[in-house]
Symmetry: D2
Subunit: 148 residues, 4 copies
């Protein structure tokens, strides 16, 4: 199954309209991605930056906000690896509101590029990382085929 | 000329990669929009919510991040009204780094819908607001024609 | 035992000095408090606001930051009820870095007042809430006495 | 006169109680301090970190929140240099709500220590910086004496 991070809408995530301030959703995407690296891939995201000196800035983002969220709502952010390029990754995000019907509330994707932190220049995704992404991608595809 | 909000990258906008945390760009979009209402349209954004009981949640967002920003960078966020629908507005954002070459660093657009705050249901954009948006749109178009 | 919320330092919590941006610690305090209400007291913090129309703004805050935190650090935020007044509560926070020595990294306290959300005027802490706070306070004190 | 930074309460600064989320006030303190360095002292705060490799983490903080703020409120954050130590500075913050009576809404102070960014060890405040702080302190004191 695809990885899902369990998050909760905090008091401070709310804006003056009483719903989640929409930039916070992108923060949710990122927090879920950090957890995905640590829990699913068993790769310490902090180590990639500090030890391997690689970063993954977002260069493109698209998102649909289908339903507003309120303080106290619990959500699950599903992460998919949509495409693996030479230097870039396309990530998919589906945010479900935890509860009776697990309604899809936000969906989106972004493209991140692999950057050498010391020079801020693009670089190929290292093989050990590419392998991890591919393994996860295969795992998700297999699930899809099994589902009748 | 199109409205531009002058902002500055704060110490706390920076992430662990030493550049602006990308959700903060969407915050910049919003802050610029708030200023656009107050300064360009002379409409108090807070009053729209509290007095007129209308909100403008984002339902769709697309953005390209062309160049990273660092602490202390000054930026100008240009606001355009791209499309005016029955209940929705499509806004355009261009972020330029203030300086010698005023490089475009981020571009994006989002769609906001007009919502009754008390019921969270879609409603037609009121005429006085529509008129303001159209006037601004015309002003920007006229500039375009004048530019040789 | 006193309640502890388990949190993790996010990528976006870091500032330009490479450590947790200090206002984020106050956010950690608040997130821990929200969890304390839900998990320890079994009271839905969102319901207090939306159903009972009560809020708890902070009127005083003191904090010592003993040691910086970095991206990926795991922390435990311990919550204590230090004093229960007619209309106010004094809360204690101890932040420990999860790991070998569970070092105390931040300690602080704040005073919140009980406010009617509709009029923004002070009001007595309702008995059902006061009872919950007192029960928790007693539980923590009993632990203290047991510890040799 | 003491330096004052003009800020505005953003849509996203508001919490679920409809007032400024209190950790945001500490963010206001910091933003005002950044502006103080740039505008009043004519020292680029970013350069202190990146060129001089010095940081100023907060080790102690106290604050009183006298009155809540809402979206759209304009504030002035006054900065004072309260004490200059060997390695530490005590800063004073007074937040006034811009308007008819310029009411004091928040007051606080924090202590920051001068740190070598490369080793995260305390170091003496360099003379050129100390001189700047002292000059500003004298300027504020002189104002006080002049005021009848």
């Amino acid at each position: 199954m695809a990885f899902r991070a369990n998050l909760k809408v905090c008091f401070g995530d709310i804006d003056n309209a009483g719903i989640v301030y929409y930039p916070r959703f992108l923060h949710y995407f990122h927090v879920a991605l950090e957890e995905f690296f640590n829990t699913e891939l068993r790769i310490d995201y902090a180590e990639i930056i500090h030890k391997h000196r690689l970063g993954f800035p977002t260069v493109h983002l698209e998102s649909d906000f289908l339903s507003p969220l309120c303080f106290g709502d619990r959500i699950e952010v599903e992460i998919k690896v949509l495409e693996i390029g030479q230097t870039s990754i396309k990530w998919g995000y589906m945010v479900y509101k935890t509860g009776e019907d697990n309604k899809l509330v936000v969906k989106g994707h972004n493209v991140t590029v692999c950057l050498k932190m010391d020079t801020f220049t693009k670089t190929d995704i290292p093989d050990w990382l590419r392998h991890s992404f591919e393994t996860y991608q295969l795992k998700c595809e297999k699930d899809l085929k099994v589902t009748p």
